[in-house]
Subunit: 341 residues, 2 copies
DNA sequence: CATGTGTGCTAATACGTATTGGCAAGCTGC
DNA sequence: GCAGCTTGCCAATACGTATTAGCACACATG
């Protein structure tokens, strides 16, 4: 019967109880494959450990092994459902593999402080959004195992979705519905995923012989508020100039745009078709439901964690191939065939 | 100029460079107040540490101090915006105080495994939702500094919102609009906050001489899906039996209900007034916007972390008073005066 | 000059685990 | 009977920091 004792039990306590030395306990419990331990001894040690409720002190273990069995996760904003999903996926893998996940919400700020704190904790790797990584001073990540959320940048591997396809799928869907006058809204900031979504969208339009006028390219933060403001600007255009379909860099923007249309009496999808990207849970809660491109956010987090946890890829032994996960168009109610005006 | 060296710099390295012994470095850098160090020595040590880019190894420090400067956070589901907010608040405080936040998403499961892992990491405290704590085997939290999210349970302090007032505010708002036929939807599970929201709601109805029939008390998980199903059941009632106003245990349910009404053509608020609870960001994105009771989720997380970080409250020296944070009714578009039928 | 009194530093040790080298005992083979 | 091997264990040490006890010195005091 395992005792749940309050006082901390060490390998020394176990050793005493089993009548062996401390190193022997360590040999048995750390399952060192090259350890030679008699079967009887092994059993006595395990028995004693169980009885005392021994639990290894990972700080001590980390100190000598130079490995802390913990990962850092730096996200731009945990309240963004996309990153909450990423975190959720990363936590799952980390936890399953015996790693702790140290959460850092940079809340839009720089992440140098977080990085330094993580270093002090001797983390085995860090998952960080590419925008944060790019904003760091040179060398800030030296010596760390890094996986980027978003495209790789040469120095570090990254896990991302196929953003260009996302844009293309949105465009092709809207083109197929007969739309000819498009707008795009997204941040100017240097986030690769957003750039690629835009590029994929624009390229598909070009392929159809269409373009995107400057006034129909709205720059703003990829947030609900950003979406509302961009949409307000579009709605302020004179009727012939107004787009009939809008692709938004992510669902938060799209939901903001959606809301703005509702507020201003612009009917979605009758007056305007709207496509988002990410497929966050909320996309199904608005009416009409948001057509969007589904991105496997949890899987992105999970894969990023797995790259850092997998002994075959850590330490650059085998440079992990970066991962580009497929996306899928999800047609819902916010898009409809272009109506004659 | 601080060098960013890849190799780890220890106090020994700093000592050598400054021409002093390792303990002296430790005395200087740990800012031990009772340490007597000559000003010149102190400066040389700091200079050397800066030049070498010294950063303390928190594993080693934790080992000897018996303190890891890290907190565990166990949430039922990170994808629930309420808990994402709690996590965000807790992370902010932890980070500001030099603590790491070890994130555990129990994803609806038991949390014993997570607790054990956190113990091994010698965490200084754990923030856990009360439902998870209650589901743990006896003694599973012994010897830990615990703060519950949700009401305290005698053994541990908790940080929560004034849930009974939330229910009462919702009821009074609806009563003031002339409603007389109410429904409530919420989980049967033993989450104190949800029980108190329900109780506050029912008590306020009673005070007005009204009650809640069994058929108008819908049990279901506090999720979007749960809200949709409960709403479907309510909509299936014959017209005279149907409520004119519904209070939902949280916003996720309310949004599910909101969506279900849109799907079934029940007009909100003309046919049905809807009140949620939490005031998550999404509440403002649906049309009509959701009337709800605002709960300071981030503040809850922040306070919980502060209780565990504050030297005046840790270790039970001064048992921290539990905190009950005020809530506020936010009237939006999902509620309206009762119409004659 | 002997005695006390701070001051500024260091030697030694502890924290709990992992690892290295080696010792003793039991074999094998000749 | 001795060299050589294997097996099973342990002594010693390392990881990087914090802390305790105490040393050497200067200075003041009698």
């Amino acid at each position: 019967m395992a005792k749940r004792s309050n006082a901390k039990v060490t390998t020394h306590d176990v050793a005493k109880r089993a009548g062996v030395s401390q190193p022997t306990v360590s040999l048995v419990l750390s399952r060192n494959p090259k350890a030679r331990v008699a079967e009887g001894t092994r059993e006595r040690v395990i028995q004693a450990a169980t009885e005392l409720g021994y639990r290894p002190n990972l700080l001590a273990r980390g100190l000598v092994r130079r490995k802390s069995f913990s990962l850092g996760l730096i996200v731009p904003d945990l309240k963004d459902p996309f990153f909450a999903d990423v975190a959720s996926g990363a936590e799952r893998v980390a936890s399953d593999e015996g790693f702790a996940l140290l959460l850092c919400d940079r809340r839009g700020n720089g992440s140098l402080r977080h990085i330094e704190a993580l270093r002090g904790r001797q983390i085995d790797g860090v998952i960080i959004d590419a925008a944060a990584a790019a904003a760091l001073p040179a060398g800030a990540l030296d010596g760390l195992d890094v996986v980027l959320i978003d495209q790789p940048d040469g120095a570090w591997p990254g896990v991302a979705s196929d953003a260009e396809s996302a844009g293309r799928l949105a465009a092709e869907h809207l083109l197929g519905l007969g739309h000819r006058r498009f707008a795009f809204m997204g941040p100017a900031a240097d986030v690769h995923t957003f750039r690629m979504r835009e590029r994929g969208f624009v390229k598909a339009l070009r392929a159809a012989g269409l373009g995107l006028e400057a006034s129909l390219l709205r720059r703003g933060p990829a947030t609900v508020t950003g979406g509302m403001e961009s949409m307000r600007a579009l709605n302020a255009l004179s009727a012939p100039e107004r787009p009939t379909a809008v692709f938004c860099a992510n669902d938060l923007m799209a939901l903001g745009a959606h809301k703005q249309c509702a507020t201003q009496g612009v009917r979605v999808p009758a007056d305007l078709s709207l496509v988002g990207c990410d497929d966050i849970e909320m996309a199904r809660l608005v009416t009409p439901e948001l057509t969007t491109v589904s991105v496997p956010a949890r899987e992105i987090g999970a894969r990023a964690a797995r790259l850092l946890v997998d002994p075959r890829t850590v330490g650059g032994v085998a440079t992990p191939r970066s991962r580009m996960l497929p996306v899928k168009l999800v047609v819902r109610g916010s898009t409809a065939p272009q109506q004659a005006r």
